[in-house]
Amino acid sequence: MKYSLKIGKELINFELFPENNGYRIETDEKKFKSELIKIDSNLYSMILNGKTYTIALKKEGKIIEIFYKGETFIFEVPSTRDKSALENASGIDKIVAPMPGRVVKVLKASGDKVNEGEGVIIVEAMKMESELKSSIDGTVTEVSAKDGDTVDLGAHLITVVADDAEE
């Protein structure tokens, strides 16, 4: 079976072949022989090419959250539309609230030109102000927040579109 996983803007492709009590896994570059055993509610033991790994994971709908070696990776199961969108739409930066908080100041208005790394909005939460930056050169096409708004985690704030991107 072929599978894809989306992490951030990246798409990872695999092919899985059941083999003995485990799987053979092939990516574009590598092959692995793998076995994954559930130990506890969220704890798994993986043996990969003879080496062992301890992994914690949670699957909720289309989101797979994986903890490995101090890091949390959030994978998404991409829909077919996602897959084609991902390939074309790398020129769009939709900036969302990284945690529940308050909008201190919206720095850019719709139509403003911004450079990569330039701040577009300041939010405050847990007594700390953070400036959120554009990850691309482009133009602000949409602003959904105003100064003083309280926003939930993941709420859309501002969209920047690269000048050469098609939305």
Binding site: L5, S41, L43, L57, F73, M99, S130
Partner: protein, 498 residues
């Protein structure tokens, strides 16, 4: 000795104090906000009472209500922990007025050392070395002259400040006046007080602090230094004791000076004298913290002294149980603050629910945590999840042990700094011990997640995808019913070499 102590705090420090009380056979009373009913400190105390809403100023900061609970529950002491009311002289006074001991220094000592300018004056009188700078609030009309005299780079700081607010580093005269204006306006909005002072900026500074302990008989001792130079957002992340940058001679000198300063204000209980030190071991007084500190466990690990128990004993009137000459340094200890934050995004706090937790164990590892499966990090309180502390026979041993312990730590559901800390323990500059407060800024590569880790995680993700339920069991039942098994001995070939 006390019969029952109320702990006017939450999280890991409340748990830490409850543990000390249990070991001293003192009953404990927890207080909790509406957001904390299912917290560890509520569970572990003997009694627990709700004191109001989740915002600190609705609950943990209302001293009068806390004193009411203490009286009703017949407590004879209140331990404030750190933060909240711990450095509130007025609260300390009110406790005493209500015939309940405030477990900490006198209100007078808190008041004197709590204000940065007053404490500087006391330090000056005690001949404690100070960073060259203004001795009090700098007036607008004298500021330029003062700045010229002190020299650049220099630092403008809010008198009432803390946590980096109202601070400005100025490299040259031409930036000075503008920076002064900004610092004052920030100080005004943060503390409602625009007083600032100016001091020399120390290049590649190390944050070194001396732990002291005093009793009510006038005895004060020090428990050597802690190095807390690994910081982000002006807050400590990794602390160690002893410091790899402090020589025996400097250690003794710093210790003596800290004790002298504490005696000036008849200090009793646990306190910390903070210094800034340059790479040539010149050190200058920063401030004194008149409470138990987050990082106290590393000092406990190298001296064998239980600082929280000692605080409680001296507050009850007992003399210090140890003398300066009997205290030595045994090995090396490191503490990492495990926080719900995103190192890849300027260490921004990352609230959420910890779905699944596994703590490290084994030799030389101490985990002071308030975590459990289902623990929620809210925006009401600090995002610190746990203090992971290790002891080793020397610094290298401690670093390797910390790395091992960090690898055992599992926190699913939150972004944490575990991966960053893991890589830090492998960094050759960290291992060499050449630290300063700009270390993380200079080692941004440590923030990057290695590609291999993503690869391993994505393989696990791919296998889980293949299972509709998300519950993968390649062996249907990994458990054996032994007596059946013996009858039907079958040979499983999974990953077998034979």
């Amino acid at each position: 000795m006390y019969k029952k102590i109320l702990i006017a705090n939450r999280g890991e420090i409340a748990v830490r104090i409850i543990r000390a009380c249990k070991e001293l056979e003192i009953k404990t009373v927890a207080v909790f906000s509406d957001a904390d009913r299912n917290s560890l400190h509520v569970n572990m105390a003997d009694e627990a009472y709700n004191i109001g809403g989740p915002l600190p100023n609705e609950s943990y900061l209302i001293g009068d209500n806390i004193i009411k609970v203490a009286k009703k529950a017949k407590c004879d002491g209140i331990h404030p922990g750190y933060g909240f009311l711990s450095e509130n002289a007025e609260f300390a006074e009110k406790c005493i007025k209500n015939k309940i001991d405030f477990i900490g220094p006198s209100a007078e000592a808190i008041r004197l050392m709590g204000d940065k300018i007053t404490s500087r004056e006391i330090a000056k009188a005690a001949k404690v070395p100070l960073v060259p700078g203004t001795e009090g609030e700098v007036k607008d009309d004298e500021a330029v002259d003062v700045a010229k005299k002190i020299g650049f780079p220099l630092m403008i700081k809010a008198s009432a400040g803390g946590g980096g607010k109202g601070m400005r580093l100025v490299h040259q005269m031409s930036d000075f006046e503008n920076s002064l204006k900004m610092a004052k306006s920030e100080a005004k909005s943060a503390f409602n007080n625009d007083a600032v002072f100016i001091e020399r900026f120390i290049q590649e500074p190390r944050h070194i602090e001396i732990q002291i302990l005093g009793d009510k008989k006038g005895n004060v001792i020090h428990l050597f230094e802690r190095e807390c130079s690994i910081q982000r957002r002006h807050q400590k992340v990794v602390e160690e004791a002893p410091s790899p940058g402090v020589s025996k001679k400097t250690r003794e000198l710093m210790g003596k000076i800290a004790v002298k300063l504490a005696k000036k204000v008849s200090y009793s209980g646990a306190g910390t004298v903070e210094f800034i030190m340059d790479q040539k071991e010149n050190f200058y007084f920063l401030e004194m913290n008149t409470r138990v500190q987050v990082e106290h466990p590393i000092t406990e690990m190298i001296t064998g002294i239980d600082i929280v128990k000692e605080m409680i004993k001296v507050s009850s009137g007992q003399p210090l149980s140890i003398k300066q000459k009997d205290i030595g340094i045994n090995g090396h200890a490191i503490e990492c603050r495990i926080c719900a934050e995103d190192p890849n995004n300027n260490f921004i706090p990352s609230p959420g629910v910890a779905t699944y937790i596994k703590s490290p164990q084994g030799p030389g590892v101490r985990d002071d945590s308030s975590l459990f499966n289902g623990y929620e990090v809210t925006t009401f309180y600090d995002p610190m999840l746990s203090k992971l502390i290790v002891w080793g026979k020397d610094r290298n041993d401690a670093i390797k042990r910390m790395k091992r312990a960090l690898e055992e730590y599992i926190v699913l559901g939150l972004k944490t700094n575990l991966g960053f800390l893991n890589r830090l323990m492998d960094d050759k500059d960290f291992i060499s011990g050449k630290l300063d407060t700009g270390f993380i800024e200079k080692h941004k590569k440590l923030l990057k997640v290695p590609k291999e880790n993503l690869e391993i995680a994505s393989i696990a993700g791919a296998i889980i995808l293949d299972s509709a339920s998300g519950e993968v069991e390649t062996i249907k039942d990994p458990r054996f019913t032994p007596w059946k098994y013996i009858a039907r001995r079958s040979s499983l070939s999974r990953n077998s070499m034979f």
